[in-house]
C-alpha cells in the first residue's frame, strides 16, 4: 500500500462516526485532565483502559491517543496561568508562559502554546508516516538478539538520560522487570513468585499496577498540595490574537522543536518530556536575545510545545512497527492493544492497515479538533482550573476500584491496587520514578523471551550480541549510556 492509498484508507476509517466520536471524546478528556493539576495523562489513560474492553480496538487506541495528545494541550494551560504544570511535558512552559501571564499577555502565551502544539503534531504525523513504513521494512530483519538488545538500550536510555540519579531510575526499571516475571513462565510452564495464589498465575494485572502507581499514589500526594493556588485570571478571546512580531518569532522555534521532538520521540527510552527540555535549551542557545528567556519569551513556549507534541506522535513509531513501547504511556497503549489480542510489530502495517492508517489520520483530525475547539473554549478550560481537587479525588478513587474490578471481576485486584498505591506513594516521596517501573514491567517478559530465543539460536554463545551488527550497535549504545555519565561523575568528584 502506498502512502497516499494508506492515507485515503485511513480517512475512510477515521471518519466513521463511532471513531470520530471516540477521538473527540479522548481529545477533550485529555485536555480536561491536562488542565487539572494533580491528574495526568497517565492516570487518565489507566482509568480508561478497562472501558476499552467494551469498544473496538481502533476506537480504543484512537481514544487513548486522544487523551495523550489532548493532555499536552491542556497541560500548557495550567502551566501558563498558574505555574502548575498539568503534565510533566509542559513543565518547561511555565518558565516563560507564567511570566507572560503576569505581564497580562496570557492570551498570547496560550495562543503560542496551542498553535505550536498543532504544528508540532502535524509535522510529527508526517514523520510517523515516513518512518513507520521504512522501519517496518527494516524490522523484518530484526532477530531475537536485536530485539533484546534494543529493549535493554531503551530501558537504560529511559533511566539515564536526563535523570539526576540514574541508579534510582535503573533500580525502578529492575523492580519492574522482576514484577514482570510473576506468573506462569511461558517457556517452562512453571509458576514463578505466585506463592500458591491462583490469582497470580496470570501475572500481576497491568491495570492494577498502573492504577496503584499513578492513580492512588498521585491522589494521596495531591490532596494537600492541589488546592493551594489562587484563582486564575480570566482570559478573553480577543487577547489570544498575537502581534505580528510574536508570529515572526515563533516560526523557526516551531520547526526546530518539531524536528527535535520527532527524533527523540521515535527513539526508545526518550520521550516528550526530555524533548521539551532539550528544545528549551536549544532555543535559548540560538536566540539573539537569550536574556529574555525566563522573562516571557514566546520562543521559549513555541519550541518546547511543538517538541513535546511532535514527540508524542512519533513515540508511536517503535510501538506500532516494532511492538516496543518507548515510554510508559506507550507501554499502556501496548497493553490496550494486547487486551484486544493485537500484537503490534513489523507485520501490523500489512496485516492491520485499517488500524495503522486509521490511527494516523485520526491523529490529524483530533489535533484539528483541539485547535478549533480550544481557542474558542479557552474560557471554559480556564474556569476548569477553579474546580477544587477535593471534589474530584473521591470520585477518582471509586472509579479506580470499579475500573480494576471490571478487568476480571476480582476484588483481590482492588486490595492489590491499595498495596501498590501505598508502596508507590512511598517511592514517589523518595523521588523514585514509578513510570520507569511500569516500563520495565511491560518490557520484562518481551526481553526475557527474546533473550532466551537469541541464546537458544546461538547455542548458549553470548557473542551473538556482538556478532550481529544491529544488536552490537545497541550494546555499544547501552554501554555508552552507562559509562559516559559515570565517567563524568568521577571526573567531577576529582575536580
Amino acid at each position: 500500500m502506498t502512502t497516499l492509498e494508506g492515507l485515503a484508507h485511513g480517512l475512510s476509517v477515521a471518519l466513521q462516526p463511532s471513531i470520530l466520536i471516540y477521538s473527540l471524546f479522548g481529545a477533550l478528556l485529555g485536555t480536561f485532565v491536562g488542565v487539572l493539576p494533580g491528574i495526568g495523562a497517565m492516570a487518565a489513560i489507566t482509568l480508561l483502559l478497562p472501558i476499552t474492553y467494551y469498544i473496538s480496538s481502533e476506537a480504543a487506541l484512537v481514544m487513548l491517543a486522544g487523551v495523550y495528545y489532548g493532555a499536552q494541550y491542556g497541560g500548557s494551560v495550567a502551566s501558563i496561568l498558574l505555574r502548575l504544570p498539568g503534565t510533566p511535558q509542559s513543565a518547561v512552559t511555565t518558565l516563560d508562559g507564567y511570566p507572560l501571564a503576569q505581564q497580562g499577555r496570557a492570551g498570547v502565551a496560550l495562543f503560542t502554546a496551542m498553535i505550536s502544539s498543532f504544528a508540532g503534531s502535524l509535522l510529527g504525523i508526517a514523520i510517523l508516516v515516513l518512518m513507520a513504513g521504512w522501519l517496518a521494512s527494516i524490522a523484518t530483519q530484526f532477530g531475537a538478539a536485536d530485539y533484546a538488545a534494543m529493549m535493554v538500550m531503551g530501558l537504560v536510555a529511559a533511566s539515564t538520560i536526563g535523570s539526576r540519579q540514574p541508579a534510582k531510575s535503573l533500580a525502578m526499571v529492575v523492580v519492574g522487570l522482576i514484577l514482570g516475571t510473576v506468573g506462569t513462565d511461558v517457556n517452562s510452564g512453571a509458576p514463578r513468585f505466585t506463592f500458591g495464589q491462583t490469582q497470580l498465575l496470570d501475572g500481576i494485572n497491568l491495570v492494577a499496577l498502573a492504577m496503584g502507581l499513578f492513580g492512588v499514589a498521585e491522589v494521596i500526594a495531591n490532596i494537600r498540595k492541589a488546592d493551594r493556588h489562587g484563582p486564575p485570571n480570566r482570559v478573553g478571546l480577543r487577547e489570544l490574537i498575537p502581534a505580528r512580531d510574536d508570529l515572526r518569532r515563533i516560526c523557526a522555534p516551531i520547526l526546530r522543536g518539531t524536528t527535535l521532538g520527532g527524533f527523540f520521540g521515535a527513539l526508545p527510552g526518550t520521550g516528550s518530556t526530555i524533548s521539551s527540555f532539550l528544545s528549551y535549551a536549544l532555543e535559548r542557545r540560538v536566540s539573539r536575545r537569550p536574556q529574555k528567556f525566563g522573562h516571557g519569551a514566546v520562543e521559549g513556549i513555541a519550541g518546547p510545545e511543538s517538541a513535546n507534541n511532535s514527540a508524542a506522535i512519533t513515540a508511536f513509531v517503535p510501538t506500532l512497527t516494532l511492538g516496543i513501547p518507548g515510554d510508559p504511556i506507550m507501554a499502556l497503549m501496548l497493553g490496550a492493544l494486547v487486551i484486544h489480542g493485537i500484537q503490534p510489530g513489523p507485520m501490523m502495517l500489512e496485516a492491520r492497515p485499517d488500524m495503522f492508517w486509521g490511527l494516523v489520520v485520526s491523529f490529524g483530525i483530533g489535533n484539528l479538533f483541539l485547535l478549533i475547539l480550544n481557542l474558542p473554549l479557552i474560557g471554559i478550560w480556564v474556569s476548569m482550573l477553579r474546580i477544587p481537587f477535593r471534589w474530584l479525588y473521591p470520585a477518582i478513587i471509586v472509579f479506580i476500584c470499579l475500573g480494576v474490578y471490571s478487568v476480571r471481576g476480582a476484588s483481590f485486584d482492588i486490595v492489590m491496587v491499595a498495596a501498590v498505591g501505598a508502596i508507590g506513594y512511598a517511592l514517589a516521596l523518595a523521588a523514585f520514578s514509578p513510570a520507569l517501573l511500569l516500563l520495565g514491567f511491560v518490557l520484562g517478559p518481551l526481553i526475557e523471551t527474546n533473550l532466551r530465543r537469541a541464546l537458544l539460536v546461538s547455542r548458549g554463545d553470548p557473542m551473538i550480541f556482538l556478532e550481529r551488527p544491529i544488536a552490537c550497535g545497541f550494546v555499544i549504545a547501552t554501554l555508552a549510556l552507562i559509562l559516559l555519565p559515570l565517567a563524568r561523575r568521577i571526573r567531577q568528584g576529582r575536580g
Binding site: 540519579q165 490532596i223 471534589w391 478513587i397
Partner: protein
Amino acid sequence: MQRDYHDLLWGGILALFGLGVAGYAAQSYDFGDLRRMGPGFFPVILGLILAVLGIVIAIPAWWRQAQPEPIAWREGVAVLAALLFFGFSMTRLGIAPATFVAVLIASSVAARRGLVWRLMLAVVVTALTWAIFLGALDMPIPLFPWSR
C-alpha cells in the same frame, strides 16, 4: 546532621528485596544454563542487579544531607481505607452503599471541613457511578444489598 534517610532506607530495602528475589528464585526454580535458561535464570540475575543498585543508592546517602519530605499519613490512611472498604463491600453491599461510604471516608481528609458538601458529593458520585458502570457499561454488580 540530617542524613538522606529516604535513599538510605529505600536503598537498603531494594538491596534486601533483590537478594530475596535472587535467593528464592535460585532455591525454588531451575537455573538452567545460557543455552537453555530455566525459569530461575532471569529472576536470579535481576535480583542480583537490584541488590547492587540498592547498595549504590544507599551508600552515598549516608554522607549526604537531605530534608525528608513530610509524609501525608492521614491522607494515605483515608485513601487506602476507602479503597479497601469499597473492595470488600462492593459485591456484598452493592455499589450504591459502597460508593456512598467510600466517598465519605475519602473526603474526610480534604482541606475543607464540613459534612454537607461531603454528603452532596457522595450523592453525586453515587449517581454517576450508577449511570456509568451499571447504566452505560452494564457491569454485573448489585446496586443495593437486596438487588441480586
